[in-house]
Amino acid sequence: MTKRMLTRRSAIASAAVLPLATPHIAGAQAKAVRIGMQATFSGPLAQSGITHRNAIEMEVERINAAGGLAGRPIEMIYRDSKSQPQEAARVARELVNTDGCELLLDAESSAGSFAVQEVARDLGVLCMHSSSETSSLTADPKYRAPMSFRSSRQGIHDAIVGGAYAAKVADANKLTKWATCSPDYAYGRDTTAQFMEYLQHFKPDIEIIAQAWPKLGSPDYTEVITKLIQAKPQAMYSALYGGDLTAFINQGNIYALFAAMKVFSVNLADYTALTAIKNLPKGIYTGNRYVVTCPDTPANHAWGDAYRKRYNEYPTNWSWESATGMMFYEGAAKKASSADPKKLAEALRGLKIDCPFGAGGTVTMRADDQTCVGYAIGWGTTVPQAPFVEGVKTADWGVIFEMEAEWKKKNGFN
């Protein structure tokens, strides 16, 4: 299900693009705030851009119906960067320089988001990253930019929660021998390393006996599955996601992999994967990407159901992250009574807003590293029918903050 992108009014016909549409002059209508959104809308990750946009459209409609940002209606402009960082950089500059966007909503994945970060830094434009989960984007002062914020989840938070939860399960079931199978790139390596680190922190007698690193997008997991079976671990962890995870589970099923060991899959609780897997094994431990039962609140259910009603499919992890980004802009505009980027940035630092995805009903944009905290992170086990994940336990942010602070100190991020 694809929607046409909003097209600009003025025709583009030559390289010498003449800039800027004219502002509205009609009567008392306020000038629209242009927000530039870029993501991947083509190729294997096309689903990320599409579901980001779906959520944004829902939020923009709601915000505009309530008056927009400080009385100014939002106008979204969408661009496809095709997962190419140099395109991401070009597109970001075009959105700001040519299309007159005052704010950016960057829904690029990690490589693209670093490229956009440099543009945001150079141009001094207010940017909300709503997809990158790489912690260093905000945690590392080297990469931080004063006008850049992040509304998406972070790898380090997920690792701490996952490690703590898995340690409890491991204790109860005496799972000491572990294996891992994650995609061979930055996200896969970092998340797996961090998860295992925290798992071993909470339960020191855990031993990693085998590690498999299939290439991202690899269609064939036969050799890693057989390698895992040979190694005979009691449990395994995987950071595979999306189509890769689906293929892995489908192929793993015919090797009876899931009967042989307990499986912890951090990215399984995502409706696209859950509904695509034909024979979802019962009892896989999974973290929440997005499920309506985490947090199990009326607000979250309502949001998820509204999305489903409108788009005929469930929201993804990407959806809630962009929705939160828009909610932050909305909250900042209310607090600052203005949509001026500098004032918005001021208002964002330390801002706490009501949010359906918050662990306690709210999320906060932490002031020192300008990233979102307080969102619901939980783990549960799979069942082969809706709601697909049961027994969800949400994490305690007190523990997360404590361990995160230690992690930052260890890496010299202060």
């Binding site: 694809t2 390289a15 693009v17 800039p19 140099q86 040519t98 490589a111 440099e118 930055a186």
Partner: protein, 319 residues
């Protein structure tokens, strides 16, 4: 001599025009366009030295473009070098790499040459992705390029980078033009048209091939340096196979038989990219159809088409 002066004069005039243009037309998108065009056109024209002028169909020329981006960005980030030194050292690194790679590859004929150059590029791409500690792996070099200052002029300003890119493009094109207009250039064409006859006429074929391979690698890296400054970093996508594909498209769209063909093709390709991606998510579909139209319909690039229409004869190229 007269031709050289004429070319230089044209180049200077164009650069001056570009430098003065923003005072009447302050479009930042145009400046971005020129910067990207400079980078890709240098790359495509350098590839055409191999493809159009020597008949060497390299499928892995992106290796040197990407090497230029990574070497330059790494030198600037990890060492305290000033920009001019990093610039020169990058070109030296590319030269050495090209000598090694070229020595291995040029012994092979036709399609095997194409495959081995492709394998070389993909091998380096694999290494870059795996060597996370040095290159940042698949996320690329993060954090930006520091101290972007050239002889006191800051290249962090878009206007300065724009003029710099225009100057670099002009100089690069002039040098490559000079190469093809000398007797060395003639020997390239002789090798392309009939290698055996060229050898019989006394040309040391392997040495000429290796030389042009190295020269074209240097100019490709030059394009890479410009790109690295534009994105303020380096990414594995800039050394992955599709970037060579882009250069090949540019050459074919613009005309393999004209010196400025690759430049024209680059402009067409970039324009297409910018225009089409604004309108639709199906950029691949549009690009594919247009390529087919050029390859099957026009059967030659734009500049070749125009040259023939005007009664001239393009300098040849692939059939």
């Amino acid at each position: 001599m007269g031709r050289i002066l004429r070319d230089v004069a044209i180049a200077v005039a164009v650069v001056l025009l570009l430098a003065l243009l923003p005072s009447v037309m302050p479009s930042k998108a145009f400046q971005d366009f020129v910067i990207r065009c400079s980078s890709m056109a240098l790359f495509a024209t350098s590839l055409n030295l191999l493809v159009g002028y020597t008949g060497l169909s390299s499928f892995g020329h992106g290796l040197f473009f990407g090497l230029g981006t990574y070497a330059f960005a790494l030198l600037m980030q990890k060492t305290g070098m000033a920009l001019p030194s990093a610039f020169v050292l990058t070109l030296i690194i590319s030269t050495v790499t090209a000598i090694v790679v070229g020595a291995i590859c040029i012994r092979l004929r036709l399609i095997y040459f194409a495959f081995v150059t492709l394998a070389m590029q993909m091998l380096v791409h694999s290494v870059i992705i795996s060597w996370v500690g040095l290159t940042g792996g698949d996320q690329g070099l993060q954090g930006g390029i520091p101290r972007r200052v050239l002889f006191g002029i800051s290249l962090e300003s878009q206007y300065n980078l724009y003029v710099f890119a225009a100057v670099v493009l002009a100089v690069g094109l002039l040098l490559m033009r000079h190469i093809v207009n000398t007797s060395f250039g003639t020997s390239l064409r002789m090798i392309r048209d009939n290698e055996t006859r060229a050898a019989f006429l006394g040309i040391v074929v392997w040495r000429v091939k290796l030389t042009v391979f190295v020269l074209s690698a240097i100019f490709a890296s030059l394009g890479g340096i410009v790109m690295s400054l534009f994105v303020s970093g380096a990414y594995p996508e800039l050394i992955n196979w599709p970037i060579t594909g882009d250069a090949i498209f540019a050459i074919v769209l613009g005309g393999v038989g004209s010196f400025l063909g690759p430049l024209a093709g680059t402009m067409i390709l970039l324009l297409l990219n910018d225009v089409v991606t604004r309108q639709t998510e199906y950029y691949g579909l549009a690009l594919g159809i247009i390529i087919l139209a050029f390859a099957l319909g026009l059967r030659r690039g734009l500049l070749d088409f125009i040259t023939e229409r005007l009664g001239g004869r393009p300098a040849g190229g692939i059939s």
